[in-house]
């Protein structure tokens, strides 16, 4: 239902323009904020009654929200009118468009641009709230602050404290304040440094694409049913992100055809998540099987794919495994071992380091490609599947996301210092 689907996007756009919070609007319409969120991302259809309520909350006609994309310009103009108050004449808007098509187009474009910027601001807000680098660093600071507060209170409030305890708490205070100082310095440096990255990243098509696919649970259901996913593409603001999405849809469509869902799930149940054996069963490339494994409905496995330069071109996180948002990843990832040895399966038990770390079986494989034939360049594509494991036996390979946020100080592969200090070092701080 393309029409209904687009109505969700229009609702969101209008709400953001009016500066309404999702929770407030949901309350007015009598639904939960999470349900409204699903509607706005075109993941739920909107019944006529609810549409009336939502339209009323936004001060527009329900028909305007429900109309198809053909009236995009009129919608933009209505939104423009809504954005600056009620002085604009809404009723004769069709007259305006037919009499001054040029001006109407200019106004519509300005309105769309404003909406895009609003979206960018909203996305940036969202990112600050969910930046894993930032939240890890803040968590670290919070731990140190907790220790300082509690220890200082003991020293201040306990009159009859034994000398050896007093000495110990003084030493702890010293260690924690050193840790706080270097943590604060590192945090400021990180925020300074990430300014540029963020500027470049606001419009990063890769990130927009990641978020788009994540919002769909990494599974494009429309490809399995043959319904198609054209309506979903409308959610992507930038052309570059739509390009990435189209490339992915091309791959996923081929994967879905070559590895039909039911047959693939049956084979998976029979032989387990071994990409090489599944590939042999279906006569398909190992990489196709890995993509399919990570994007089955509800799949827990993480997946990263890189090109020959090691640049990540696909990043699906898993619980306890968060690929870096930008910049280079951990050099110890089995992904890079596979990249250097094309067509050789690499399997390793790994444990992700840091808080919330988990055990995984990492399976990596690299496939070369010669799109221009023997005379052309060799391209490589390597993928690493991260299968959550209950536990590891022996010594798992300890891997991080990227050096900047990795707590493993004494790592032979470290290429730059971390903004995190290892918790256990605080005791031994000089």
């Amino acid at each position: 239902m393309g029409m209904t689907a687009l109505a969700g996007s229009r609702l969101r756009e209008r709400r953001l323009l009016l500066g309404l919070r999702q929770a407030d609007m949901a309350r007015v319409a009598g639904i939960s904020a999470s349900y409204l969120n699903l509607i706005e991302h075109n993941r739920r259809r909107i019944g006529a009654d609810l549409m009336e309520k939502l339209a009323a909350a936004l001060g527009v006609e329900a028909a305007a929200l429900a109309k198809g994309a053909g009236d995009a310009l009129i919608n933009d103009l209505r939104a423009a009118a809504g954005g600056v108050g009620t002085t604009a004449e809404i009723e004769p808007i069709e007259d305006f468009v037919s009499r001054f098509p040029g001006w109407a187009a200019v106004l519509g474009q300005t309105q769309r641009r404003a909406a895009q910027l609003e979206r960018a601001v909203a996305a940036l807000n969202d990112r600050i709230a969910h930046d894993p680098h930032l939240s890890q660093a803040l968590h670290e600071m919070l731990s140190a602050v907790s220790a300082v507060r509690s220890t200082a209170a003991i020293l201040a409030e306990t009159d009859d404290i034994a000398p050896e305890w007093r000495a110990r708490f003084h030493a702890n205070l010293h260690g924690d304040s050193e840790r706080l100082a270097s943590g604060a310095e590192a945090l400021v440096a990180y925020l300074d440094g990430s300014d540029q990255a963020n500027d470049a990243g606001i419009a990063s098509p890769q990130e927009e694409f990641d978020a788009w696919l994540a919002a769909r649970g990494w599974h494009l259901a429309g490809l399995e049913t043959g319904e198609g996913v054209e309506a979903d593409l409308a959610d992507l603001a930038s052309g570059a992100a739509r390009g990435l999405a189209r490339d992915w849809i091309g791959l996923a469509t081929a994967d879905a055809a070559a590895l039909p869902l039911a047959a693939f799930q049956a084979a998976l149940a029979e032989i387990g998540p071994d990409p090489a054996r599944l590939a042999a069963r279906f006569g398909q490339p190992v990489l196709a099987v890995m993509r399919r494994l990570a994007t089955l409905p509800g799949a827990q496995a993480g997946l990263v794919i890189c090109d020959a330069s090691g640049t990540l071109v696909f990043r699906k996180p898993a619980e306890g495994f968060v690929p870096p948002r930008f910049g280079a990843a951990c050099a110890l990832w089995p992904l890079y071992a596979a990249l250097a040895r094309p067509m050789t399966p690499v399997q390793a038990q790994v444990a992700t380091v840091g808080r919330g770390g988990r055990a995984f079986i990492a399976q990596a494989f690299c496939q070369p490609d010669y799109p221009l034939g023997f005379a052309g360049p060799e391209l490589r594509s390597a993928a690493m599947l991260m299968l959550p494991a209950a536990s590891t036996t022996g010594q798992p390979l300890r891997i991080g996301a990227t050096c900047r946020i990795c707590p493993q100080q004494a790592c032979p592969a470290r290429r730059e210092s971390s903004i995190l200090s290892e918790a256990s070092q605080s005791d031994a701080a000089p």
Partner: protein, 123 residues
């Protein structure tokens, strides 16, 4: 007989501080720096209260609470969980798993003592 609390906290300085203030309040305090041996220790010691950090290396606070709630002998043990901001999703899961009280870092010593007393005094 002194009330007994098991404290599982990987930050040594926080563990030292909590251990000190609870000892001064008359508690017998046992501390663990990680979660792997938590369940065995709980079964052996039978403490009156568990204070556990949400984020621990190895086995996390959430897993520990889930496991102990499934153990008939520990199902009613009062549990205080230490959390930091920005873990609302984990916190919701821990609440569902049966944590009795959350203490957000940075906490005050008085809060810890008062909450520990309240938890063993019953509802």
């Amino acid at each position: 007989m002194a009330r007994h609390v098991l404290l599982i906290e990987d930050e040594p300085n926080i563990a030292a501080a909590i251990s000190f203030i609870l000892s001064r309040d008359g508690w017998q305090v046992t501390t663990l720096a990680e979660g792997r041996t938590a369940l065995a220790r709980l079964r052996a010691d039978r403490p009156d209260l568990l204070i556990v950090d949400l984020m621990l290396p190895g086995v996390g606070g959430l897993e520990i609470v889930q496991a102990l709630r499934a153990d008939p002998g520990l199902a009613t043990l009062p549990v205080m969980m230490l959390t930091a901001k920005g873990q609302s999703r984990d916190r919701a899961a821990a609440e569902a798993a049966g944590v009795n009280l959350f203490m957000a870092k940075p906490f005050s010593n008085a809060e810890i003592v008062a909450s520990a007393r309240a938890l063993v005094a019953g509802p």
